[in-house]
């Protein structure tokens, strides 16, 4: 490794390290004065290790990630199906557009109280809200992707006399896979954010709730630990999706 490459690898870490160290110094002074709000990052790291040891870290992380994934599966699955249908037929797109424009701008968190009434607390309410939140972006992105499929491919399918379901499965779906993955990556980000938000606002489960409880029991170190952990999980999931997207699009023969 040349020194220039080494420098390029090290440089991104310097700014956050300076921030962390200065925060550490500041928070130590504040903690010495008896602050309930701030904890130094080293204490947060200890609290994180403690949570990892007693298993609460993995249990809450598993709940949030599992619910987000399942909700995404429902929302993205339905969104993709409807998106393909609306993308293939101009008439269906015209029929649906007003309904979509009416329902899409409803902020997903507005449905938290409704989901509470319908399902109570637990997995199902969070699933419903994550599915609602991921349904709309997937629907619109997939519809746009299908509308951009090479028209000659569709003509070929007509000449071959394929049935509509065969056309969707054999021609359209392979053609939109690269764009589908871009949409899916966005869906994953939305699902994670919405899942944590639902847990912070209402649902007594998962990472968001664990953080809320840490705050309410005046444990700033544990709260900071959860905040950092949520950030790390978000970055890890995003990196995983980027890698998956690259692998799939290479296999599909797209040039990136």
């Amino acid at each position: 490794m040349t020194s220039a490459a080494l420098w390029r690898a090290v440089r991104p870490w310097i700014f956050p390290l300076v921030l962390l160290v200065s925060y550490e110094a500041y928070a130590r002074r504040a903690a010495a004065l008896g602050s309930d709000a701030l904890a130094p990052p080293t204490a947060a790291l200890q609290a994180l290790a403690g949570a990892a040891m007693d298993g609460s870290l993995w249990q809450a992380t598993g709940f949030t990630l599992g619910t987000a994934a399942l909700g995404l599966l429902i929302g993205a699955g339905l969104g993709t199906l409807l998106g393909i249908a609306l993308g293939l037929s101009r008439r269906a797109a015209g029929l649906g557009f007003l309904t979509i424009e009416v329902f899409r701008p409803v902020p997903s968190v507005a449905l938290i109280p409704l989901a509470m009434l319908m399902f109570g607390f637990g997995v199902r309410m969070e699933l419903a809200i994550v599915a609602f939140a991921t349904f709309w972006p997937l629907l619109l992105l997939v519809q746009a992707a299908v509308q951009q499929v090479e028209p000659r491919l569709l003509e070929v399918s007509r000449v071959l006399g394929l049935s509509p379901s065969e056309r969707a499965w054999k021609i359209v779906l392979p053609a939109i896979v690269p764009r589908l993955f871009v949409a899916l990556r966005m869906g994953v980000a939305v699902a994670l954010v919405v899942a944590v938000t639902v847990e912070i606002a209402a649902n007594p489960n998962g990472m968001g709730y664990a953080m809320m409880i840490a705050q309410q029991s005046f444990d700033p170190a544990l709260m900071l630990a959860w905040l950092g952990w949520i950030g790390v999980v978000g970055v890890a999931v995003n990196a995983l999706m980027l890698w998956l997207q690259r692998v799939v699009s290479r296999r599909m023969g797209a040039v990136l």
């Binding site: 956050p16 007003l98 309904t99 902020p107």
Partner: protein
């Protein structure tokens, strides 16, 4: 033109059919009225609420959303321009920004509560902070994508850095900034509602949570309708503004 009206009519018909289905399902009792009120009850709650305090709640939520959004846009563009104008600063800071980007804005709420307490200022801070990221990152991206030849011209003309930002950087980053601001507006509304729910600040978020706890489904639906309306109107206005502001870019 005829085909277009036909599409509109069909679109309207589908929406009316869905409302009719809602009417039948709730009136015939297919779905429990505990969580699916009838359309007429929802409408009555809406009309009655708007005469009482629902209008104040709506204005409170809209105010919170707009204040946070404006603050986020100003700070986001200013910081983004400061970071984006210099490739050196970009190389130092951008990886950190990319790390913070996927962090859910509402995850900062517990931290903000322990610093600021359960106050309107706390909610405003989290709204502005959460909505700032898309604007900030879009501005940095817009500055990074300025045509190199324009930068060279600016150097030949011996423009000062401030003049470069104002005359070349910002106009070029405008489409990115506007797209970021549109995303920021959606985030502002969401975080404002969550903040009202958690910190019990007056607004639609608190109103619908209380309605749900008291099993008053029609008031809950009235609140959801209003929130949907806020999202719809704000998004439409911003799309219109975007079209107007970017007209000069199209040939």
């Amino acid at each position: 033109m005829n085909a277009r009206t036909q599409t509109w009519l069909g679109s309207l018909a589908l929406l009316s059919a869905l409302v009719a289905l809602w009417w039948v399902a709730s009136n015939a009792g297919w779905v429990s009225r505990v969580f699916l009120p009838t359309p007429q009850a929802t409408f009555a709650s809406l009309a009655e609420g708007l005469r009482a305090d629902l209008l104040d709640f709506t204005l409170a939520t809209v105010g919170r959303m707009l204040q946070g959004w404006l603050l986020a846009s100003l700070v986001g563009v200013a910081l983004g321009a400061a970071i984006g104008v210099s490739p050196a600063v970009r190389a130092w800071v951008q990886p950190t920004l990319e790390f913070i980007r996927p962090l859910p804005a509402s995850a900062l709420m517990p931290l903000a509560i322990s610093i600021f307490g359960l106050s309107p200022g706390m909610v405003l801070f989290v709204v502005a902070f959460g909505a700032m990221w898309p604007v900030l990152l879009a501005t940095v991206h817009g500055f990074a994508c300025v045509e190199p030849r324009l930068a060279e011209v600016a150097r030949c003309l011996q423009m000062s850095r401030a003049a470069f930002v104002w005359k070349v950087g910002l106009p070029n980053a405008m489409p990115d900034i506007l797209a970021g601001m549109r995303l920021a507006l959606t985030i502002s509304l969401i975080v404002a509602v969550v903040g009202e729910m958690i910190a019990s600040q007056t607004g639609l978020g608190q109103a619908i949570l209380l309605a749900a706890r008291a099993f008053r489904a029609s008031e809950l639906f009235a609140g959801i309708v209003l929130l949907g309306l806020i999202g719809f109107v704000s998004n439409a206005l911003l799309a219109l503004a975007e079209k107007k502001l970017l007209r000069w870019q199209r040939p």
